[in-house]
């Protein structure tokens, strides 16, 4: 696996329907820029990423990978209401901000970086797929530093939790970010595996056959049910489990938030994060802290 070293991480989570003025106040702790004509999704993006960068000096070519399940959910609904309920043309900036890539743009502009700027999604595995894109860019020597994060507003959608039968969490707004480079110097940890499997048995076989020592901590994504989690625990025999969904709540970007939170909370530990999508494709992320 190509080197992907983690230099900092940060998580911002808030109860659903957090006021945008509160988010703006929080952002002022990190930047003097006054954000106008922006929405909650953009503010969550900027806040989470600014917390992650904090005092790091970024290279101008730093890339941004924004992963999300739903993107600008709230503002898209508002603009649809302007057209269908108010029967008017939408406000120009409201319309522009329905394009979720504007969040990564405002972040790049605020940070003064102009590397790759990608907004990507994949049902229930958005953060994992974003990491795969980053991995290919590092492998190809296209990028030398990157901010990767997951951002989602609390969703009211029942469909978004379809398949998570028997498990329910409180809905939160979430923005989890990591600053990653291929350089080990100054890093606090590294991604040591980013792996996809077409079904559960292949994933289990890989975990069973691994020759390296077991991870200290395991964490399961939203679609790994209780029974399946129990059988995976039997195989992995972890020293601990990080149930970030139960402890902190769910957003479409729960994986990004959980992983960035792990970096902060579990110094010196190894994490194996297992997740799956609605088709039964699995994705495993292993992260080692130094």
């Amino acid at each position: 696996m190509n080197e992907m070293y983690i230099h900092s991480a940060s998580t911002f989570i808030a109860e659903a329907h957090t006021d945008t003025n509160y988010l703006k106040e929080e952002i002022r702790r990190y930047t003097k820029e006054n954000f106008r004509r922006v929405n909650k999704f953009i503010l969550l993006t900027i806040l989470g990423a600014r917390q992650c960068i904090n005092t790091h000096a970024l290279d101008a070519d730093t890339a941004i990978y924004l992963t999300t399940e739903h993107g600008n959910l709230g503002e898209t609904a508002d603009v649809l209401d302007e057209i269908y309920e108010v029967n008017s043309l939408p406000k120009p900036f409201g319309f522009i901000n329905t394009m979720s890539s504007t969040a990564a743009f405002y972040l790049a502009q605020n940070l003064g970086v102009r590397g790759r700027n990608i907004t990507v999604s994949s049902q229930h595995l958005s953060f994992e797929r974003g990491l795969e894109l980053l991995k290919v860019d590092f492998a190809g020597g296209v990028e030398r530093s990157a901010l990767i994060g997951g951002v989602d507003e609390a969703s009211l959608s029942e469909a978004s939790l379809e398949g998570c039968a028997g498990r329910s969490w409180r809905m939160i707004d979430g923005s989890g970010w990591l600053y990653v480079t291929p350089e080990r110097e100054g890093a606090g940890g590294a991604f040591t595996e980013i792996r996809s499997f077409r079904d559960g048995p292949s994933c289990v076989r890989w975990m069973s056959e691994r020759e390296i020592s077991a991870a200290d901590v395991v964490a399961f994504g939203a679609r790994i049910g209780d029974e399946e989690a129990a059988s995976l625990r039997d195989i992995l025999q972890p020293a601990a489990e990080f149930d970030y969904l139960r402890e902190y709540g769910y957003s479409g970007s729960a994986t990004a938030c959980g992983i960035s939170m792990f970096v902060k909370l579990y110094q010196g530990k190894t994490l194996l994060h297992i997740n799956r999508d609605q088709r039964g494709n699995y994705a495993v992320i292993e992260l080692q802290q130094f």
Binding site: T68, E69, H70, G71, L73, T76, A77, D78, V79, L80, I83, Y84, N87, L89, P90, K91, P92, F95, I96, M99, S100, S101, T102, A104, F105, Y106, A108, Q109, G112, V113, R114, G115, R116, N117, I118, T119, V120, S121, S122, Q123, H124, L125, S126, R129, E132, K135, V136, A139, G140, V142, S155, L156, S157, E158, S160, S196, R198, G252, Q278, R279
Partner: protein, 391 residues
């Protein structure tokens, strides 16, 4: 060891038709089909042009449903797979890269007619995320690989193709299905009118009298693989994506970020500017885009700007889907021996210093640059060739 990625299969449904032959034929003869759409919901007393898919009567936007949405999508994908000649095992092995601006918004707007629920209410309650459409593709076709849905405004499907090719080159995957799809939706049409971006009558990118863009709807799909199936399959040579942080709605008019994107793509492909035989410009027809893009071409190519074509006047600006749609229209025309001209262009803008092709240009083997830009400062350049692969 790295390898090349090749476009081995393709299909498109757009305003010009749904077969490659009729679409390329229309491009050769500068035939376009433009519709007029009113702003009924906002009670505005005028219409604006739009490039609508017109396969049958039921295609009118008011009659559409989710079945229509998926019919267009699945029909396009099905024909792209057939064109590539992939077998079931190879289909199962694929990964899906999807790019769109509107994603599933047309579905919610279409279903609005059948229920008393508001569109926004349906959207909030039923949205299954940006990954939903790629998820439907893999389910329908028995594709076993991963799904990546790109939401980078008008560069969405160009970026989908950039990453699909990179993953094949790096041997992370064997083959990919790349889809660009944007169907008519009021959100985009009314939104662009609110921005005063829509042209009044005619699409005239790079023309002195240009007055904006004309939206279009289309679905394009290409199969990318690590080997050529046919001698004329186009080969991906390189690409680049960067963010122009000048403004969320427009690019730096001096074109520095756009030029930097072109230069990075050239470096990635191991090429010099003079190696490019023709450029497919993004050419939205808006004042800022055309000014920026032409300035950038002057920065990149100096006094020797290669022949330039603007293909949006054939199928409209298909926003996030334009990456794949315009690639298909452009490369299929070259396979038929010509680089298409730019319909609607009549009078050069002396400030742009670029005059697009006014007549079809004979084309054979060559190296071609395709440019795409979008809101949020997103800039993407792809370089493709139909020359023999090295080694």
């Amino acid at each position: 060891m790295k390898r090349r990625a090749f476009v081995t299969g393709k299909a498109i449904i757009c305003a010009l038709g749904d077969t490659l032959r009729e679409i390329v034929d229309a491009a050769r003869h500068k035939r376009i089909r433009l519709s007029q759409i009113p702003f009924t919901l906002a009670s505005l007393p005028y219409t604006k042009p739009y490039y609508l898919i017109q396969r049958k009567e039921g295609d009118a936007p008011d009659n559409r449903s989710d079945a229509y949405f998926y019919d267009i999508l699945f029909s396009t994908v099905s024909r792209a797979l057939l064109d590539a000649g992939v077998n079931n095992e190879e289909i199962e092995d694929m990964h899906v890269f999807f790019g769109s601006t509107s994603m599933d918004v047309p579905i919610f707007e279409g279903n609005h007619h059948k229920t008393s629920a508001s569109v926004s209410g349906m959207f909030l309650q039923s949205s299954n995320g940006y990954g939903k459409i790629a998820g439907a593709i893999v389910e329908r076709f028995g594709i076993g690989g991963n799904c990546y849905s790109f939401a980078t405004a008008c560069t969405s499907s160009a970026n989908a193709l950039l990453y699909a090719a990179a993953m094949i080159e790096e041997r992370h995957i064997e083959r990919a299905l790349v889809v660009g799809y944007d169907l008519y939706n009021n959100l985009g049409f009314y939104g662009c009118e609110a921005l005063k971006s829509l042209a009044a009558e005619e699409y005239r990118p790079f023309d002195r009298m240009r007055d904006g863009l004309i939206l279009g709807e289309a679905c394009g799909a290409v199969v990318l693989e690590g080997r050529r199936r046919n001698a004329d399959d186009f080969m991906y040579l390189g690409g680049a994506n960067i963010c122009d942080t000048y403004s969320v709605t427009s690019h730096d008019e001096e074109g520095s970020a756009v030029a930097e994107t072109m230069n990075r793509a050239l470096r990635k492909a191991g090429l010099r500017p003079e190696d490019i035989d023709a450029v497919k410009a993004h050419a939205t027809g808006t004042e800022n885009n055309d000014r920026t893009e032409c300035a950038a071409m002057k920065v990149t190519f100096g006094c020797s700007v290669p022949p330039v074509t603007c293909v949006k006047p054939f199928i409209g600006h298909t926003v996030g889907a334009c990456g794949v749609n315009e690639l298909i229209l452009f490369t299929e025309s070259i396979k038929e021996g010509f680089v298409p001209s730019t319909p609607g262009f009549r009078e050069a803008d002396k400030d742009l210093h670029v005059t697009p092709l006014m007549e079809n240009m004979e084309a054979g083997k060559g190296i071609f640059m395709l440019n795409y830009f979008g809101f949020g400062g997103n800039c993407t350049t792809l370089i493709l060739s139909n020359k023999d692969a090295p080694g």
